[in-house]
């Protein structure tokens, strides 16, 4: 299992956001992106998730058998700034939908909805409409979404924004567990995350040295 990126660069509008970024992640490895606001962390994560087409370079995913079977995006869970949950539906309905829609990828299986909610310590409020939850509770539930369907790669964009300290520790624990089980994690964050990141990448925004390549 391996997630590789080669010489990625990406545009937003007319502006080059970053260029020449490469990494190579194996089972159990994590990459943490840091950098100033607007330096392009979210953009990079979205490129990896296949949501933005890179201006150059490519992202490659090899499954357990070493084959380039599926698209990289399909092996990924993406937790962005927005939670991808409907405020009108209850938490349980939201989770059930994503479980049924995403379905487990081969190589693992998700937990039940009740278990996932317990794992983020919110088992008691599954019946509330998602819109009623507090900001931190919403974030936790969005994270629970990663647990109900199995994906080897987790792409997390500031997962701990709006979380209290105990929940931060909880997320770190869940991420460690995922890594331990052979998963891969790509996270962008401003706060030190409490898990061993095997790789770090500081985004610096657009480098003038790269300008020639960008044009």
């Amino acid at each position: 299992m391996r997630l590789m990126a080669e010489n990625l660069s990406a545009h937003r509008g007319e502006d080059l956001i970053f260029s020449n970024i490469s990494f190579n992640l194996r089972r159990g490895e994590a990459l943490v992106l840091t950098g100033r606001n607007g330096s392009g962390k979210s953009t990079l994560l979205r490129v990896v998730a296949g949501l933005i087409r890179p201006a150059a370079g490519q992202v490659e995913w090899r499954g357990a058998d070493g084959q380039k079977g599926v698209n990289a995006a399909e092996a990924c869970h993406y937790l962005g700034h927005r939670n991808a949950m409907k405020p009108e539906l209850t938490v349980a309905e939201n989770l059930a939908f994503w479980r049924d829609f995403l379905r487990d990828m081969e190589g693992g299986s998700g937990v039940t909805i009740g278990e996932a909610a317990e794992m983020v310590e919110l088992g008691a409020i599954l019946h509330l409409p998602f819109g009623y939850l507090s900001a931190g509770q919403q974030r936790r539930m969005a994270f629970a979404k990663l647990l109900v369907a199995y994906r080897p790669v987790w792409i997390l964009d500031e997962p701990t924004a709006a979380l209290d300290t105990s929940a931060e520790a909880l997320f770190a624990r869940l991420i460690r567990a995922h890594l331990h089980a052979g998963g891969i994690v790509l996270a962008a964050t401003h706060q030190p995350l409490d898990f061993v990141a095997s790789q770090r990448l500081e985004m610096k925004g657009f480098q003038y040295a790269d300008m020639e390549e960008g044009i």
Binding site: G50, L51, I52, R82, N83, A84, K86, E88, L89, F97
Partner: protein
């Protein structure tokens, strides 16, 4: 996919207005028309099919422009785009859900509405049939517009210019087929077949177009 269908149906019942809006709207229109044209039952029955079809157009348009916008605003669109399900299928299912929740009730209610409009049985049957066959095309056309609306940061205007003109042929063939069923000289089948063809055409073109637009939304 069934999950998506069910979720969308649930959402449109809980949040969007869905089923009842079309039917209720129609009731209001029907309640008003007699005030306009006078209690002339003949006239009512004559303009009936056109009114029912216009009602269907409205029902199809209600909320359709936000079909993908809501998904995008809460981030769900990202996840939908990432899956291996062909995107075309996702769009198709979303269209289906929209049609089921918003347009089908009108199709089902159309006999009742026909009665209010004093239409005869043949006309009612014809309208119902043409609606059943033709209205999905409206949804599919609207989906393309909705997808384009998502990609354009400020392009609502474009969408309306794009969608409504495309709907006109559907409406025209639908209405003329309904009339053909009642009025003798005009044959029913040709416009009806054309209507079917249009729907089938847009059933393919609509989702493909919408999926293409969504793929290129990229942000």
């Amino acid at each position: 996919m069934t999950a998506l269908l069910l979720r969308d149906l649930k959402l449109s019942i809980r949040a969007g207005g869905g089923a009842l809006i079309g039917v209720l709207f129609f009731m209001t229109v029907v309640a008003v028309i007699p005030f306009g044209v006078g209690p002339d039952l003949n006239l009512l029955s004559r303009i009936g099919p056109a009114i029912v079809w216009i009602g269907a157009l409205l029902a199809a348009l209600l909320g359709l422009d936000r079909l993908f916008q809501t998904e995008r605003e809460d981030g769900s669109l990202d996840l939908l785009l990432m899956q291996e399900h062909p995107l075309v299928l996702v769009v198709l299912v979303k269209c289906l859900a929209h049609w089921l929740a918003n347009v089908l009730p009108l199709v089902i209610a159309s006999p009742l509405l026909g009665l209010f409009m004093n239409m005869d049985e043949v006309a009612i049957g014809a309208v119902m049939l043409t609606l059943l066959v033709g209205s999905p095309a409206l949804t599919f056309i609207g989906a393309v517009g909705a997808a384009v609306a998502v990609t354009l940061p400020r392009g609502g205007l474009l969408v309306s210019i794009l969608v409504l003109p495309l709907c006109v042929p559907v409406l025209i063939f639908g209405v003329s087929a309904s009339y053909a069923a009642v009025e003798d000289p005009a044959p029913f089948l040709p416009p009806f077949l054309i209507l079917t063809a249009i729907t089938m055409f847009f059933a393919v073109l609509g989702p493909v177009g919408a999926a293409l637009a969504l793929r290129n939304a990229g942000d």
